[in-house]
């Protein structure tokens, strides 16, 4: 099986052909967004971080910024900095160049005539890149070039029994075709971590699964939050969930049934084929961001309650297992995955239909989130600003 993609000079294959105008810190965010809004084919996003951060938090921000520029959906990048921030353009550019040889421009607002001069210069660079990008023709590539992220948020009783098992079928199919599927959201592994670990390809990967769960749990306990103790919540129990393992199995079903090949730190480059895990928060925008920074070109996101969110770089296909939610906000949701609940189609049948939709989106069909310009991001942080 093949999909249509854009070949990058670093050998990777994108399913979109964006010019990324990237603010390296919050001071540059509005300027970068104004530049992108003036150039057809350019994208940007709101970066709330990039300066005055503790070192571990700087690392999270750097990993997302560098990962975004390296994501194969990006043709080239225009870095916009202010000039005195921790995540400065020279530092970010050097790290990007270690990962990819794609086109890269950069400028500081302090050295480019403030906001008006930077907008003028940034528009010229973004326009030049967009013009080059428009010359590229998509070609057919096999699934070994595709990384799919999986996500759930705003879950309800239908997520664990319909939408997530349907995503699991797509994960299994992507893996069978030689591609990669990422299972994320470490906080939602709790209670089922031993089951997940038993699916690891070897003892080392199993140990990594257990380690990311215990480290995350301890991190939250240090901030007076006991996830295991408070779960399943009373609302979950009313909805029929009895144990934490049961709740977590409903989430991790997104990963399907194949062996876990590797465990990656948040935002780190994904280089293995098959099903892999990334250590991300349950917070959906931040989890999606980590997978996209890791190289995911497309994401499938289930939401029982419904959500509009997307991502600036990767198409986010949203599905719901709840027919009422689809009736209420189908304008934001790409697929009604309610077969497990309505019985109108089986989970296996809907998995095939969702795989077909994912292929359509990879081949160029725009998602609801893309059509509305939803470009939410979230970058994890451990502590307060410095």
């Amino acid at each position: 099986m093949k999909f249509l993609g854009y070949k990058r000079p670093d050998g990777k294959v994108g399913v979109r052909n964006h010019v990324l105008v990237m603010p390296t810190c919050y001071c540059a965010t509005v300027t970068a967004e104004k530049i992108a809004s003036c150039v057809e084919g350019a994208v940007s996003f709101h970066n709330q971080l990039g300066c005055s951060q503790a070192l571990d938090d700087v690392q999270y921000t750097v990993d997302v910024l560098v990962g975004f520029a390296a994501n194969p959906n990006v043709y080239g990048t225009v870095l916009i900095g202010n000039g005195c921030e921790v995540c400065g353009i020279a530092k970010i550019a050097a790290l990007i160049k270690e990962r990819t040889n794609k086109p890269l421009f950069m400028m500081n607002i302090q050295d480019t005539g403030g906001t008006p001069g930077t907008i003028q210069e940034g528009m010229k660079c973004a326009q030049a890149l967009a013009e080059e990008a428009s010359m590229l023709r998509s070609e057919e590539y096999d699934f070994s070039h595709l990384i799919m992220g999986t996500e759930c948020g705003g879950s309800d009783a239908t997520s664990g029994i319909s939408a997530n098992p349907i995503i699991g079928k797509v994960s299994d199919r992507v893996v069978a075709e030689g591609g990669t599927s990422i299972l994320s959201e470490t906080t939602e592994f709790m209670g089922a971590e031993h089951i997940l670990a038993s699916r690891a390809k070897d003892e080392e990967v199993a140990r990594k699964v257990l380690n990311i769960v215990s480290a995350y749990e301890q991190h939250l306990i240090n901030a007076n939050t006991n996830v295991r103790g408070a779960n399943p919540a009373p609302g979950n129990k009313e909805g029929g969930i009895t144990t934490l393992a049961e709740k977590s199995l409903g989430c991790i079903h997104k990963g399907g049934s194949t062996p876990i090949q590797e465990v990656y730190a948040y935002g780190h480059p994904v280089d293995k084929k098959g099903l892999v895990i990334m250590d991300t928060p349950g917070a959906d925008a931040a989890s999606v961001c980590g997978m996209v920074a890791g190289g995911a070109q497309v994401v499938i996101f289930s939401s029982g309650r419904g959500t509009p969110i997307g991502n600036p770089i990767a198409p986010v296909i949203k599905i719901t297992g709840n027919p009422t939610t689809f009736a209420k906000m189908g304008v934001n949701i790409d697929y009604e995955a309610s077969g497990g609940v309505t019985g109108l189609q089986t989970i296996a049948e809907q998995g095939q239909l969702l795989f077909d939709l994912m292929c359509d989106v990879v081949n160029g069909k725009k998602t609801k989130a893309e059509l509305f310009g939803n470009n939410e991001i979230g970058i994890p942080r451990l502590c307060n600003y410095v």
Partner: protein, 88 residues
């Protein structure tokens, strides 16, 4: 009256009911792969709660998603509601 249920994995000992079930009603379920079966409810089962399709002895694991989700705290007969009172 016949009510609808979902068997997520063919090895599961429980079925998720998709609508409210009264005692002695039949739950007709379908699996992820389309396999059909049925079980008679011995008590009220609220929507999205679990009904036992296999007997589970006290101390044995209850299986859902093809995986153990907890230990039976009492002998669970076919048709029983499976929740906090008999599963932990």
């Amino acid at each position: 009256m016949e009510r609808r249920g979902l068997l997520i994995d063919d090895n599961d000992s429980v079925v998720v009911v998709l609508e409210a079930v009264a005692a002695s009603e039949v739950v007709a379920y379908v699996s992820s792969e389309g396999v059909q079966g049925s079980v008679v409810a011995s008590e009220v089962i609220p929507p999205f709660h679990k009904i036992a399709r296999k007997a589970v002895a006290r101390g044995a694991q209850v299986i859902k998603y093809g995986q153990p989700i907890g230990t039976a705290q009492a002998d669970i007969a076919i048709g029983c509601h499976v929740h906090e009172h008999n599963l932990d």
